[in-house]
């Protein structure tokens, strides 16, 4: 990580802060991506169409990135297919159980000084840290 990367991360984070502000100002909602994705499937109503448009918007943004700066999608995590599938199952199960992920609890919740979101964020950071350490210790960093 160098100075430029820190600046890009700050700018990218700023865009995320602007995006969640627009959602709140116009639609009165928290931009919680795990909730948006799970409810898009469990509540497929016309009133819930906004969730699908949010997801399509995210993928559209991804397509612009893929067309202009595809190296932003380089994945050299060293995690194999089985690890990624188990990871996905845990992320899906855990975020619905815990009512949020990095966006809903981490960005939106911490910004409105929610004690629930602070506890959730500290918990998933701690368990993420422990998991990365376990993978390093038992598997040398890759799975």
């Amino acid at each position: 990580m160098n100075f430029n990367q820190a600046v890009y991360s700050l700018i990218g984070g700023g865009l995320i802060g602007i995006a969640v502000t627009i959602m709140l100002l116009f639609n009165g909602r928290v931009t919680g991506i795990s909730g948006i994705v799970s409810s898009s499937i469990s509540k497929p109503t016309p009133e819930g169409l906004w969730r699908w448009l949010f997801i399509i918007g995210m993928i559209a943004g991804g397509i612009v990135i893929q067309a202009t700066k595809p190296d932003l999608f380089v994945n050299v995590s060293g995690r194999g297919s089985l690890a990624v599938i188990i990871a996905g199952l845990l992320v899906g199960y855990g975020t619905v159980m815990g009512s949020g992920c990095t966006s809903g609890h981490g960005v939106c919740g911490l910004s409105r000084l929610s004690i629930r979101s602070l506890m959730a964020t500290m918990t998933f950071m701690l368990f993420g840290f422990l998991t990365v350490q376990a993978v390093r210790y038992f598997a040398g960093g890759s799975l």
């Binding site: 802060g17 943004g61 009512s99 918990t123």
Partner: protein, 146 residues
């Protein structure tokens, strides 16, 4: 379909679009940067700067926006107001954390990365949606209070 309905959907599309561009620019669509953040021995502080950028803006805009009587396109706010710390909140967050450290993906970067066409993104998002449905199907057996 009323025009306010269409406007809300348009706003959601724009928010999703800007959010995903923000994630990609900040490096969050590269799972090794998430794993690096969770590893103090080869620390990658990118995620910290993302949080500073995002929260730094929203911590200012949140109270300003909430001074309004209601959102522009709705009659009431739909923001969680609970303060109780439940086993469900902590256990769910812990399970999420394990998956996050294991794959280096959280939901937003996973969805955004679908656009790359790379297999891991599809495996992750497919499994994530399966996990979400699995929770909906099994939660009544868990006896965890809402």
């Amino acid at each position: 379909m009323s025009s306010v309905f269409a406007k809300r959907n348009t706003v959601s599309f724009v928010v999703g679009f800007v959010f995903s561009i923000g994630l990609a620019i900040s490096g969050m669509t590269q799972p090794q940067k998430i794993i690096g953040f969770l590893n103090p021995w080869q620390w990658d502080p990118s995620l910290l700067f993302v949080m500073i950028g995002a929260i730094g803006i929203h911590i200012v805009t949140y109270p300003l926006v909430r001074k309004r009587h209601s959102p522009i396109l709705d009659t009431k706010w739909r923001v969680a107001t609970r303060k109780d710390i439940t086993p469900r909140l902590i256990l769910g967050s812990a399970i999420f954390g394990v998956g996050w450290g294991l794959g280096g993906f959280c939901p937003g970067p996973g969805i955004t990365s679908l656009a790359s066409g790379d297999l891991p993104a599809f495996l992750f998002v497919g499994a994530m949606i399966t996990g979400m449905i699995l929770f909906e199907k099994t939660q009544r057996f868990l006896k965890l209070k809402e």
